[in-house]
Structure formats: structure tokens, C-alpha cells
Subunit: 137 residues, 2 copies
Amino acid sequence: MTLLKIGELAKRSGCSVQTIRYYEREGLLSSPARSDGNFRLYDHQAEERLIFIKRCRSLELSLPEVRHLLTLSQAPGSTCGEVNEMVDQHIQQVEERIRELQSLHRQLHDLRNNCSENRIVEDCGIIRSLVQQKGSK
Amino acid sequence: MTLLKIGELAKRSGCSVQTIRYYEREGLLSSPARSDGNFRLYDHQAEERLIFIKRCRSLELSLPEVRHLLTLSQAPGSTCGEVNEMVDQHIQQVEERIRELQSLHRQLHDLRNNCSENRIVEDCGIIRSLVQQKGSK
DNA sequence: CTTACACTCTATAGTAACTATAGAGTCAAG
DNA sequence: CTTGACTCTATAGTTACTATAGAGTGTAAG
């Protein structure tokens, strides 16, 4: 039942002090108790909530999504269809971004093949490719 | 040798009017000539330069990188080793991000498998997994 | 001539999720 | 009573734009 000051919570959670205060401002963490000297004092529940947020963020869920999950997880009796939906949607976004980056990777590889040696820039195939319109030879 | 107003250049290049003005402020495009009524007037060279920038951005090079490439491509006699290096480095960053996202994808998939049906949130395996510390069962 | 409209101009604020700083206060140890 | 480590609030900066307000320009129709 010991209460933590923000620096201790930061160390335990792996979030920075500023980030914790930021989450409070954004309504992801509720305002904690304060000491006589106006320092924030966090209980175990707050620590768990912060770690929940941290896990969500490590999965790259957005803060609005995290906020939504926090709300859902505390609405007694609500069903978890929405939770599933959010995760599914997020998976799709990740898949799409992977495809984008793979296409980008191919393009960069092709570009790189245009110039293998150290030439003067006027002859550099990379610069040339970037200058030319896509369709041109 | 016709000069283009910013709206026409925007259409031709696929950039928005605001983006073109933004590139000017950031020093990627030089200040163009102005009409009597103070409208920007762009020549063919400016159009080519903008398209160069557009291509670089479609490869997700950062604006500082693009600026650097523009400088290099116009320094007469400089060699293109730096160009190659930049592209190689960018390729590595893309590869790293792909690996990150693939790991993320696996984690999200695992998470999703924790809850397949419509349960009440208290029993939802997804929420449970997010609440629990990584190591715990 | 004037009025409508489509365009342009500058300057400013907003986006996401933080990070960094300034300037002031708190608290325990020496 | 001073030093040092911590905390507080408020504010500005990051990236690459996008959006808006309020004013001016240019042309065509009535």
C-alpha cells in the first residue's frame, strides 16, 4: 500500500516523468492524490493502469484507441466485440504498412542499382533516376 | 517558356498549393518570380525541381535528405558516394521498420487469439493479456 | 461599372505523441 | 542554512504538412 512519487513510477513503468504527466493531461490516467508539498502520489492501481497503457503503446495502438480500451475494460458487463474489432483493424493497418514498405524497399533497391561506383554527380544514375519522370527512359 | 501560377504547378506536380509554399519557406524551392499582382510564377526548371522532390518524398526520404540530395546534385564535380550512402542507409531503415512491424504483427495475432467469441469484457482474453505483465501466466 | 467567382497572398494554428526547457518550489542530509 | 535531487506548472519544439482567416487579384457576365 505504499504510494509512489512520479519518478519512482517512471522507473518502474519505463515511461518518462513527462509522459506520465502528459497521459494525465490527456485523461488516460486520472489525477492522483497529492502530498502536502503538492507532489503526485500513485497507488498500485495507477501503476497497473500505466503498464496497461505502455503495453498498448508497444503494440502501436493510438492514444484514442487506448482510451477506448480503458473505457471498455471498465464498463461492467459490456461485450468485447469492439475490442476484437479494434485489434483486427489494427492488424490490417500493420499488414498494409508492411506491404507499402516492401514496395518501397524494391524501389529503393532498383534505384541503388543505377549507380554502383563513385562517379561525379552529373553521371550518377541515382540522381538521374530521381530527376526523370517515371515513364521516361 | 510559359510561366505557371501556383495552382497550375500544383495540378501538374500533384503537390498541394500549400505544400509548394511550404517547400519554398523550407528552402527546398527557391523564391520564384512574381507577377504584377504578386502571384508566384514558376518556370520549367522549378517544375522539374518540384517533381524531383516529389519522387524523393514518395520514397519517404526526409526533407533534410532531399535538401542534401538537391545540393549534391547541383554541386558540379562532386562525387556521388554520399548519394549512395544515403540511399543505402535509407534502405536499412526501411528494412528495420519492416522487421519491427512483422514482430508487431505476430504479437497482435497472438493477442487476437486470446479471445475469439463475444464475451463480456471481464472475461475477454485480450484485455486480460494487456493488463498482465509480460512474464506472467 | 459592378458584381460574382476563382484564384492568390500572408500569417497563424492545428495534427500525434511525446520531449525539452525555464523558473520556481519541496525535502532530506550534511 | 545550504546543497542537491527531486517535483511543480507552463510553454515551446519536433515532422511534414493541412486548414483557416482575412485580404487582395483578375476576369467574365450582367
